[in-house]
């Protein structure tokens, strides 16, 4: 390739990054990548493949941001050089700008030979990312219905992932959720190494509920479950062919979920604790442990990294406002929202009675998905008897009002589009010392955070 042209691409991209930062638009994450991609389409390929410490792609409907963050924390603690695209930049241009930010004007990344490339990758971006970066490992967290107006059907996403595996190096390691049969399907026809992760804790088995996004095996047989944790995730087998859940190399048992964090046993690591909670975060931790193990990181580094990890933006963020503790729990799709509700139910069960203060915020902008029908696939009924007060916000607050009315929640303290009105109502309906769980969609979370920043409760920075 032509070094001069690549240098020009890097220069143009860096200039755009500087200009973006000067304009204070989004911290300069996406634009430089966009410019460099146009100037030099080979940029991602050449810079990305120079990373000799391993190139990891992490994808899935839910949990890819948190999983990537845990891996980053372990890498940082272990002193391994790495680059990592941050949240909101998991498309090709975000990956490009991440690479570009570390490249010199000569088109090289200093120390690339031992550097790890850690890339959170949008589901639909996986094929081009795999083609460009020749990953050494690909991790799949789960596959659920998500913003069908943007991503299409679950089958469409699975087909994209299979296409990515067709162009990935044959010796790459797949890190797969053994409990999600759709993710497990990625191992079919894969000759390279597979690292399975899964959950072994009967206490979390449920009778099922919610929308199942995987009903049939590729052979046409129904899935049967020895244990179902949530949705289609659990100990499954096909009733027609021989496919079944694989025994995982990385497995969690004896899970304890608290308000401030979770702990669980992992064979080889002993009891590990982390300041993230919810069964979904246990799965994220397992995916991250699988990635770390595939990168050859030590058990000590993995345990220490998990203990240090901080929640990603808006995911289990804690905000103090006038003596109230607001706990932000992002939920973008039915599976994510149901996981949050299950966590709230677990917390409420420890307190007893109708103890929960809950604010739901629903937007229908492009990043949220235009279609809000998905709220009818969420089991708001799960915590109907445990909600003491609720507030509903966002551009589609009225849709939530009907949803929770039919779910048997108490009459909301507010149904309002404007974040300021929702926050005022929360303050009016609670006292100092109270705790409020806030469950927003992505852009609703941005709006709420801006309002909280205006009131001096959070810093305005993106993280």
């Amino acid at each position: 390739m032509n070094r001069v042209r690549l240098g020009a691409a890097v220069g143009a991209g860096k200039g755009a990054g500087l200009a973006t930062r000067l304009l204070r638009r989004g911290g300069g994450t996406a634009l430089p990548g966009l410019v460099a991609e146009r100037v030099h389409p080979q940029l991602v390929r050449d810079l990305g493949r120079s990373l000799g410490g391993g190139r990891v792609l992490i994808t899935g409907t839910n949990g890819k941001t948190t999983t990537s963050r845990i891996v980053a924390e372990v890498l940082a603690g272990a002193g391994r050089p790495f680059i990592h695209n941050r949240e909101g930049s998991n498309l090709m241009r975000g990956i490009a700008s991440t690479l570009l930010a570390r490249a010199s004007l000569s088109g090289r990344i200093a120390g690339a030979a031992t550097m790890v490339g850690l890339f959170e990758t949008d589901e639909a971006t996986l094929p081009p990312a795999a083609r460009a970066l020749a990953p050494t490992a690909l991790a799949f967290t789960n596959l659920f219905r998500d913003q069908l107006d943007r991503y299409g059907e679950v089958d469409t996403v699975a087909a994209l992932w299979r296409r990515a595996l067709e162009v990935a190096p044959r010796d790459a390691t797949l890190i797969l959720n053994a409990d999600d049969p759709s993710v497990a399907e990625m191992a079919q026809g894969w000759d390279g190494p597979v690292h399975w992760f899964g959950l072994d804790d009967e206490a979390f088995a449920t009778a099922g509920g919610g929308a199942y996004d995987a009903r049939w095996c590729g052979c046409g047989g129904d899935y049967a479950y020895e244990r179902r944790y949530f949705a289609h995730v659990g100990w499954w087998r096909c009733t027609r062919c021989a496919r079944k859940r694989e025994e995982p190399q990385t497995s969690a048992s004896a899970v304890d979920l608290g308000l401030e964090g979770a702990s669980f046993e992992v064979a080889g690591l002993g009891r590990v604790g982390m300041p993230l909670t919810g069964l979904y975060n246990v799965y994220n931790a397992l995916a991250a442990i699988g990635v770390c193990r595939s990168l050859g990181l030590s058990d000590e580094a993995i345990v220490a990294g998990l203990a240090r990890v901080k929640a990603a933006f808006g995911r289990q963020e804690v905000v103090e406002l006038e003596g109230r503790t607001l706990r932000l729990l992002l939920a973008k799709n039915p599976a994510g929202a149901n996981q949050v509700l299950l966590l709230l139910r677990t917390i409420a069960a420890k307190d007893g009675g109708a103890s929960l203060n809950v604010a739901l915020l629903l937007n229908d902008r492009f990043a949220d998905g235009r279609d809000v029908s998905w709220i009818w696939d969420v089991d708001h009924e799960l915590i109907a008897g445990q909600v003491a007060r609720c507030w509903l916000g966002g551009d589609r607050a009225e849709d939530l009002a009907v949803r929770v009315k039919y779910a048997g929640w108490p009459v909301p303290g507010a149904v309002a589009h404007e974040p300021a009105r929702v926050v005022d109502a929360i303050l009016a309906g609670t006292a100092p010392g109270d705790q409020v769980f806030v469950v927003p969609t992505y852009t609703a979370m941005l709006d709420l955070r801006a309002e909280l920043a205006r009131r001096g409760a959070v810093s305005g920075a993106m993280d």
Binding site: S373, W374, W376, A397, A401, R403
Partner: protein, 249 residues
């Protein structure tokens, strides 16, 4: 009184929050002390339409629709006959397509439907845009709001009545301005998911038609406080008017 609802293929045809329609019917019955009985009909289950007052079917993924189509065709004559005798039904999205004569894929392959409605659906091919967005309809039951997301284009026979006229959105085929289909008390539509929660009058019309058919024409429904439902309807209509296309045709 009691309302017996048959939900066809609930585990499969449920892709866009179609469960919301069941939740709305149940709420609006139980709030009036009408017993709500839900019968779930899956592939291979026995199903006699005469034992039900209302039939629901939602939408599924392509693979799923192909899978239930064969089973549904076997039930076609019984469902057609019951609807011919006034059985109320709501068929949404993929279920609506299968309540027509056939679905013709862009490669010419055909999924047979059951012909409750005199219509067929054709897929224009992978390069054609899907019809996605907020919708406002003008129907015999007033303004109806919802969200559509479909690749297939549906064409009504000349004497087939639509469910409504499109004010905002695409409708059956983005050209003729029709949305859905109506035959006796059966309604087919592309508006999925939260259709009945946000359109309480439509939900009540279906319940009332079902109860009158069973208990006699003097049956009436006690009014409910629909303040939140009406607010959701008006908000959705305002959003559709702001950002969805004006209908053609």
């Amino acid at each position: 009184m009691e309302l017996r609802v048959a939900h066809l293929y609930p585990d499969v045809m449920n892709i866009y929050g179609d469960r919301g329609n069941v939740i709305a019917l149940r709420y609006r019955c139980e709030a009036r002390d009408i017993r709500f009985h839900l019968g779930q009909v899956n592939i291979g289950n026995p199903f006699n339409p005469a034992e039900f007052d209302l039939v629901l079917i939602g939408g599924g993924q392509d693979r799923e629709q192909r899978r239930i189509a064969g089973d549904l065709v076997g039930r076609g004559p019984a469902i057609r006959e019951a609807i011919g005798h006034g059985l109320p039904a709501l068929a949404v999205c993929g279920g609506f397509q299968l309540f027509g004569h056939r679905y013709v894929d862009h490669d010419g392959s055909i999924i047979p439907g059951i012909g409750v409605f005199d219509l067929e659906t054709r897929h224009p091919g992978p390069v054609a845009d899907r019809c996605i967005g907020d919708v406002v309809l003008e129907t015999e039951l007033g303004e109806v709001v919802g969200f559509e997301n479909h690749g297939g284009r549906t064409y009504l026979a000349l004497d087939q009545a639509p469910f409504g006229r499109v004010r905002r959105g695409f409708g059956n085929n983005a050209v003729d301005g029709f949305e859905g289909a109506r035959h006796n008390n059966a309604i087919g539509t592309y508006l999925h998911g939260s259709l009945l929660p946000k359109n309480p009058r439509l939900a009540d019309e279906l319940i009332l038609a079902a109860l009158r058919r069973r208990y006699g024409p003097e049956v009436d429904l006690a009014p409910l406080d629909d303040t939140p439902e009406r607010a959701a309807n008006q908000n959705a209509a305002a959003i559709a008017i702001r950002r969805s296309r004006r209908a053609t045709g």
